[in-house]
């Protein structure tokens, strides 16, 4: 509960300094009448034409119980993702709903889906700061409280912003979803998994009233943030734990190495599909020693085989 107070105060403080930023007559950011495709340097008089990078990004995934879940764009089972781009930034994110809420009668996918949809809308707002993905998560989390329809549950989240002016990527990660960046066949950046204890990741949550103290609720402040520059041809993969727990790193590297510098979205989509399918197959395999099984064994749990889970793969390459 206190995390909600913290987030409300953060937002209020940030916005009080420039009140009604949503209403400001700013001409710099193009909210509204213009289209949303990634245009380069539209309307901005940049004297030096430094190359502006952009993402070529694709998404693929599988819901855990594929047969029961009807496909809805933006979600794979309880996982959810979003992509958005503006003049100044390209943003991608995934969120993994914590499944334990089903026993309380709450749909776990609702929280994560809402989080991602709101992030997408917030990218277009005037107060979007391309250098603070934590703020994006915080604002999105606060929006949850302003919904008439009560949304309960919890989820992990990972948001990645490419600042097109400075060619840097800023990330924020809460929980066990994550990203890796591959350059020249090597992993150059990787997110850290945040867990309280085994199989209990950090999570943003909105518990049902009365259960507040019993429920793990991490504030957006506890997100792991990283910032690093990117170069042309870098491959960035954001995925939920369904991928990282089932596909070993060297296998992932093999697949991602091939697609470095690729600009053709069709080829990129094929790779994403490969990765997702790989994760799916391995997760259903009961003999394979997956990363999940290995880490379980480290925690003194005799596990074997993959971990059936929702799989979401967001794959992007940086193009100048």
């Amino acid at each position: 509960m206190h995390s909600l107070n913290w987030t409300s105060r953060l937002i209020s403080r940030a916005l009080r300094s420039s009140f009604s930023t949503l209403l400001d007559a700013t001409t710099s950011t193009t909210t509204g009448a213009t289209t949303t495709t990634t245009k380069g340097a539209a309307g901005k008089a940049t004297a030096n034409r430094s190359p502006r990078p952009r993402f070529v990004s694709v998404v693929c995934g599988f819901a855990k119980d594929n047969l029961r879940h009807k496909y809805k764009p933006g979600k794979y089972g309880e996982d959810s993702w979003f992509k958005a781009s503006t003049d100044t930034a390209d943003v991608m994110g995934v969120a993994d709903g914590v499944g334990g809420w089903r026993s309380y009668g709450i749909d776990p996918g609702e929280f994560s889906s809402f989080l991602m949809r709101t992030c997408e809308r917030l990218v277009r707002c005037t107060h979007f700061n391309p250098q603070r993905p934590v703020n994006l998560l915080a604002y999105s989390y606060c929006e949850l409280m302003e919904q008439k329809k009560p949304i309960l549950g919890s989820s992990t989240a990972c948001v990645l912003i490419l600042n097109r002016e400075t060619s840097t990527v800023h990330t924020a990660n809460i929980g066990d979803s994550g990203f890796i960046v591959v350059r020249e066949g090597e992993i150059v950046h990787k997110s850290e998994e945040q867990q309280h204890y085994f199989n209990t990741p950090f999570q943003l949550s909105l518990p049902p009233p009365g259960h507040g103290p019993n429920v793990l609720s991490d504030s957006p402040e506890s997100a792991d943030t990283m910032s690093f520059p990117v170069q042309e041809g870098d491959v960035i993969l954001i995925a939920t734990d369904g991928v990282f727990d089932n596909v070993p790193e060297d296998l992932m590297l093999q697949v991602l190495r091939d697609v470095e510098g690729e600009r053709d979205p069709v080829k990129l989509q094929m790779t994403a599909n490969t990765l997702a399918l790989m994760a799916r197959t391995l997760s259903l395999n009961s003999e394979f020693l997956s990363p999940f099984a290995l880490s379980a064994r480290r925690n003194n749990i005799q596990a074997r085989g993959g971990k059936p889970d929702d799989i979401t793969v967001v794959l992007a390459t940086v193009a100048m």
Partner: protein, 687 residues
């Protein structure tokens, strides 16, 4: 009697008169363009409308035909009177009007739209309702809420389309802000235009609509629009997804010409069509004088004004009318009785004029000296409301009114001066001159207010009983420190959507023990509501209504303190307590405040089933109950409430997901059986 028939007179407009040339040209030019507009019929045929004839010398300076048709969505929001969501959110707030429609043509209650705070006339029936000041000024369909939006390019508007995605039918007026800095009304609803009055059947499937009413043919060039809403016929909240402005662009040159023409004529005529009566003192005169001149009527009014006019009206008027062919030869003064309006005693005339709205009162003052004296009598200016004339109010008007309003008691300057027409200095002067006896002061959405204005209010108006400062949410807050600490007699304080410092509020609460109505909606994270509630429970036990919509940091403790205000009739705790557990506090409140008529508990998710039982048993006088988004409602509890709260008129059960879809039909039956208006949401599928 048609002094307004100028089709006969306009050709003589260029004759040898002493008027400044710009004035005549402007009027005639408008005439020409209006004639051209009528002759063309189809206003989409833009070439002739903009071109005009080449041979008419007035049209040779007309607009070029370089314009192209343009449809644009809102670029930004300048002002709004109320919104459902809080300012830092993007759900149900005014910022959602920006850009393309996100949900249209789907129909439903979506957070990606713009919603206002009120619907129907439930707020007028509540204990906290405010009576309108000088209500005769209000038009038939008064404006309840408005939003001012701007677009990217200047156009001459041909169509304004409003995308309504939930409960359409709230729009009553569309205004456009000309580049000559005047507001023009492009469209006004008539009572027949409004959607059918709400029936008990909330379940008739409505549809989203793209509302594009027929606009008045004008040649204003605008990129700023103001949309006025009236909620009285609405069933539930109305939601707007987007606004589109279609029109023809104009070249820069013609825009500059128009500005130049307008400013020249404005200075010459000293307020053509303006509200202030000051224009009649200037020798060039207003439109009536001009028309009189074109009809070859030149009274020599140097001295003995009243007598000459009186003589003319009694003796020569009938002849004059026959000569000018305006009356079909009727003899006016033969068989008609000799008593006329001016024979009535002064006080009777005063009483008659007291029913007039302000505009008509000013017009009356232009009739004769006698009526000027009557219409400027201070007794007619005891209550003054410039809210319906927000588009005309300026510093000069305030100055004029200051001269007459010596007995001013109630003042409503809401919505005025939004674009700098009223200067803070003029307002302060007005207040210093006439403010000491003020009992009611309303300054909602007044953009000209600054810190010194508020200080003046605090110093001068210490007899204030009611102070309304809605929509003043600038940063740093306008209301700070001790500026209003001098006010000790307040009974109503309205700070809806206004930023203020909490110390000021707490000290005002301590100072005004007779406070009855308090509105602190949207005060946000800067105010700790628990403290406020404790103060209320200690110092303001006479409290009748309290609105804490979307307040923060209210907990069970605060609610318990509120229980000490035993005269409470209205309590709005919407979105306040959020997930906080209430414990026993609601039970205490309900038992201590038996007079409670209106209780809004929207989205107070911590309400348990026990609380609902208490509402049913203890809420004997409840008339309006809002339980939107409460998680644990079952239809048994709803039935309990309906049975026990016999005076219930409104029950809002939207987004109560525990009530299954099948129960909604049962609830419809109960709504008819118990005669209660029950609002519920059905799942609306996207088209």
């Amino acid at each position: 009697m048609s002094l307004l028939a100028y089709d006969g007179g306009v050709d003589d407009g260029n004759s040898s008169d002493t008027e400044p040339d710009e004035l005549i040209d402007f009027t005639a030019m408008l005439m020409e363009q209006r004639q051209h507009g009528d002759n063309d019929g189809d206003c989409n045929d833009s070439s002739s409308w903009l071109h005009g004839d080449g041979d008419n010398k007035l049209q040779s300076q007309s607009l070029d035909n370089q314009g192209y048709c343009l449809g644009q969505y809102v670029l930004g929001v300048l002002d709004f009177s109320s919104q459902y969501g809080i300012d830092y959110s993007i759900s149900y707030t005014a910022a959602n009007v920006i850009g393309r429609p996100t949900k249209f043509p789907a129909y439903g209650d979506y957070p990606e739209t713009f919603t206002m705070r009120t619907y129907g006339d439930w707020w007028q029936c509540a204990p906290s309702s405010m009576r309108e000041i000088q209500s005769q000024n209000l038009p038939t369909l008064p404006t309840h809420d408005f939003i001012v939006v701007y677009f990217e390019k200047f156009v001459v508007p041909t169509e304004v389309a409003i995308f309504e995605t939930f409960n359409p039918g709230g729009v009553v007026r569309i205004w456009a802000y000309n580049i000559t800095k005047h507001w023009t009304c492009l469209w006004e609803a008539k009572s027949s235009d409004m959607i059918q009055p709400r029936t008990r059947s909330n379940y008739a499937l409505r549809d989203s609509r793209r509302f594009a009413p027929p606009l008045k043919k004008t040649n204003v060039i605008t990129k700023t629009l103001r949309i006025d809403f009236n909620h009285s016929q609405l069933n539930y909240y109305t939601e707007i997804d987007a606004i589109m402005l279609c029109g023809r662009t104009v070249s820069m040159r013609s825009m500059q010409q128009l500005i130049a023409t307008a400013s020249a004529s404005a200075s010459a005529s000293a307020g053509l069509q303006r509200l202030d009566g000051g224009s009649r003192e200037v020798t060039s005169g207003g439109p009536i004088t001009n028309k009189l001149r074109t009809l070859k009527f030149q009274p020599s009014c140097r001295e003995n004004y009243a007598a000459k006019l009186h003589e003319f009206i009694n003796n020569d008027l009938s002849q004059f009318l026959i000569e000018n062919n305006l009356e079909p030869g009727q003899q006016l003064n033969s068989s008609v009785s000799q008593t006329c309006l001016t024979d009535l005693p002064f006080e009777i005339l005063l009483k008659i004029l007291s029913y007039l709205d302000l505009k008509s009162l000013f017009r009356m003052g232009q009739v004769s000296r006698l009526f000027y004296d009557i219409s400027t009598h201070p007794l007619l200016y005891g209550e003054l409301s410039l809210k319906p004339y927000w588009q005309l109010t300026n510093s000069k008007l305030l100055c004029t009114l200051a001269r007459r309003a010596t007995m001013l008691r109630k003042l409503d300057l809401s919505w005025c001066g939004g674009f700098g027409e009223v200067s803070p200095t003029e307002f302060k002067k007005f207040l210093t001159q006439r403010g000491d006896n003020l009992t009611h002061l309303r300054l909602n959405s007044c953009k000209f207010l600054n810190a010194s204005c508020i200080e003046t209010v605090g110093i001068v108006c210490d007899n204030l009983i009611e102070l309304s400062l809605r929509n003043c949410a600038i940063d740093p807050p306008l209301l700070n420190f001790s500026c209003l600490a001098n006010l000790k007699n307040l009974e109503r304080l309205d700070l809806f959507q206004t930023a203020f410092e909490s110390e000021l509020l707490l000290s005002m609460l301590e100072g005004n023990r007779k406070l009855k109505h308090l509105n602190l909606a949207f005060c946000g994270v800067s105010v700790n509501m628990d403290n406020v509630a404790t103060h209320l429970g200690t110092y303001n036990t006479q409290l009748v209504s309290l609105d804490m919509w979307k307040a923060h940091f209210l907990s069970a403790r605060g609610l318990q303190s509120l229980a000490r205000c035993q005269h409470l009739e209205e309590l709005d705790l919407g979105w306040c307590l959020r997930e906080a557990t209430l414990g026993d506090s609601l039970h205490q409140l309900l038992s201590n405040c038996p007079k409670l008529k209106k209780l809004f508990l929207s989205a107070v998710r911590g309400i348990t089933e026990r609380d609902l039982v208490h509402i049913a048993t203890l809420g004997k006088n409840l008339e309006q109950l809002d339980l939107m988004g409460i998680l644990n409602i079952t239809h048994e509890r709803v039935y309990d409430i309906l049975v026990h709260c016999t005076k219930l008129q409104l029950l809002d059960l939207s987004f109560c997901d525990s009530i299954m879809d099948r129960d909604l039909d049962v609830i419809a039956d109960w709504s008819r059986l118990f005669n209660v208006d029950i609002k519920s949401s059905r799942i609306y599928n996207a088209r």
